[in-house]
């Protein structure tokens, strides 16, 4: 691809199934808007890709406030999947994303397996979409609200519905709120996923002791930020050993050092999330930092370090 020289003689290209990335750094869904919002601070063309804010078939207003609260080295959110819906996404948001000069990955979500399939079908063949990322952490309304991503069968059913509807690579974003994430990873791999991304947020809670009320109107919310990085890294390492498809690491990545840990643990690419909120330039700084590290280490390609964590045989 075009930007090899820009990367200072180091080859940063990676491949997620059929999705070719100029470097392994993506921005995580829900932390980079629809690509336009942070352009005062970061040049989208330098990114490996943008994962757009999750969309559903119909627009969603989101949860009542308070929706966010800071916790130690992290934050809880219960945004409630607020989004403009697929039609306005295609008409209003995609045209800008399409001309950013980077890969566009559209994150999708739904209430039923059929809804995921219909949504993917609506996006099939739409110009400027390079891959879909499927959020399976949503509650399954037909199965008592149990999240699709916590049951291997429903995780697989969603994956199959999306896979059948589109030709572009399908990345399934895994929930960490399960007893064994490798079981879900294998289920979606068998169902045709081209890659998995992990982790989504960890379910958490905070209480204001003076008012004795939960800090979030939704009572519980998703924990993100540096606080969750060790958990995410462990899960990426476990999943990378359990599946043959590429793994995208997510969870508290704020520096190049964080990203390198995920690559060594077996991630082919990473997503920067919460860091975009407090350091909008984080993703570009991480790309520069990975390049500098590889140069110092004398590694000509980032692909040489993927999965290369040295674990002593017991």
């Amino acid at each position: 691809m075009e930007n090899v020289i820009d990367q200072g003689g180091v080859d940063l290209r990676v491949r997620i199934g059929g999705l070719h990335l100029q470097n392994p750094v993506l921005t995580a869904s829900g932390t980079f808007g629809y690509g336009r919002e942070l352009t005062a601070f970061v040049n989208p063309a330098r990114l490996g890709g943008i994962v757009a804010k999750g969309i559903s078939l119909a627009p969603r207003p989101g949860n009542p406030p308070p929706r966010v609260v800071e916790t130690a080295c992290g934050m809880l959110n219960a945004i409630g999947l607020e989004n403009v819906g697929v039609e306005r996404f295609i008409s209003d948001k995609l045209p800008f994303l399409r001309q950013t000069g980077t890969r566009v990955i559209v994150n999708i979500l739904g209430d039923t397996v059929e809804e995921y399939g219909r949504l993917a079908g609506r996006l099939a063949g739409v110009e400027g979409i390079d891959a879909l990322e499927v959020n399976i952490s949503c509650p399954n309304v037909k199965k008592g609200g149990v999240a699709f991503g916590t049951v291997p069968e429903t995780a697989a059913a969603v994956t199959m519905a999306v896979r059948a509807a589109v030709d572009v690579p399908v990345i399934v974003k895994l929930s960490p709120n399960v007893s064994d994430i490798t079981v879900i990873a294998r289920a979606v791999e068998a169902a045709g996923a081209d890659a998995v991304s992990l982790i989504n947020t960890l379910l958490g809670m905070a209480i204001d002791s003076r008012s004795r009320k939960p800090c979030l109107a939704n009572v519980v919310g998703g924990l993100s930020g540096p606080a969750i990085k060790p958990v995410a890294l462990r899960m990426v390492w476990q999943v990378a050993r359990a599946v043959a498809i590429p793994v995208i690491g997510i969870g508290g990545i704020a520096t190049a050092g964080d990203a390198l840990e995920f690559l060594l643990a077996g991630a082919t690419a990473v997503q920067v999330g919460t860091a975009n909120f407090y350091q909008p330039r984080a993703s570009e700084e991480i790309i520069d930092g990975i390049r500098d590290f590889l140069r110092q280490e004398g590694e000509p390609s980032v692909r040489n370090i993927i999965g290369q964590v040295r674990v002593d045989e017991q």
């Binding site: 829900g30 932390t31 804010k53 406030p65 080295c73 607020e82 540096p226 909120f277 407090y278």
Partner: protein
């Protein structure tokens, strides 16, 4: 809208009263673009706790690229900001959001409670630039006690405005809440600008609605980014659904807001 990230230098830190502080920082690009009612997102340090930036309204813009922030220490983040001294660096993003729209004709009333006075000072100065003088404009200010109110009141009155004061403990001005001062003033004003604690803004908004006087409110919410990507700063609106304080606000027409009773 132009937004900047500036590694600014603190030029002054003043302790105004108890836990209230004023920081003056050199941030020329943000200062040049700032409008009254806009805010900055402030990084409180380089460590991961606190993690998120703090939203602070712009209190004052000085002519030489400096701007002032007025805040009360309410937690770890603002505590760290209060500890910054001259020469130290502070990472700011701004100016952010939609500020006050400067109403055209007719007398205005600015109503500030506690730290809500911060953006109103910038507004009061700007109004003097777009109108011949304070004229019949009035300013109502409230705080917990004399110590918190005395200095800000002196600065506002230095601009030439007519001032009405209230304190919770009666140590300065009216003994009570600042909206109680509004009833006498409302018949003679065309536009009210208010910033302060939520119950106070709600009371002012409802009084204005009853009197048929236009009112702009500057809202405060939890906010992770301030840049329109986290969608954490939702506020329910009368038309249904939510708007976002960081991008649609922080200043709203009072009637646009669905006030929680």
């Amino acid at each position: 809208m132009t937004e900047f990230q500036e590694k600014s230098t603190v030029t002054a830190r003043e302790s105004l009263a108890g836990d209230v502080f004023r920081l003056t920082v050199q941030a020329p690009r943000i200062a040049a673009a700032a409008q009254p009612g806009q805010f900055v997102m402030v990084r409180t340090g380089d460590t991961l706790d606190p993690l998120l930036r703090r939203p602070l309204s712009i209190h004052q813009v000085l002519s030489d690229g400096r701007l002032r922030l007025l805040f009360k220490v309410v937690g770890k983040g603002t505590g760290l900001l209060a500890g910054l001294g001259p020469g130290l660096k502070i990472d700011l993003i701004g100016p952010l959001g939609r500020g006050f729209s400067l109403a055209p004709a007719g007398p205005a009333c600015l109503v500030g409670g506690g730290m809500g006075m911060a953006p109103l000072y910038f507004l009061a100065r700007r109004l003097l630039q777009v109108r011949p003088g304070p004229g019949d404009d009035q300013i109502l200010l409230g705080a917990r006690n004399r110590a918190e109110l005395e200095l800000p009141a002196a600065e506002f009155s230095g601009l030439g405005y007519r001032l009405h004061l209230a304190t919770d403990d009666g140590s300065l001005g009216h003994h009570g809440l600042v909206p109680e001062l509004l009833d006498d003033v409302l018949p003679s004003v065309r536009q009210v600008y208010v910033c302060g604690p939520y119950p106070m803004m709600r009371t002012v908004a409802l009084k204005c609605r009853t009197a048929g006087v236009a009112c702009q409110v500057s809202l405060e919410t939890h906010m992770a980014c301030g840049l329109g990507v986290c969608l954490g700063c939702a506020v329910a609106v009368a038309a249904g659904g939510y708007k976002h304080v960081c991008k649609d606000g922080p200043v709203f027409a009072a009637d646009e807001v669905l006030w929680k009773m």
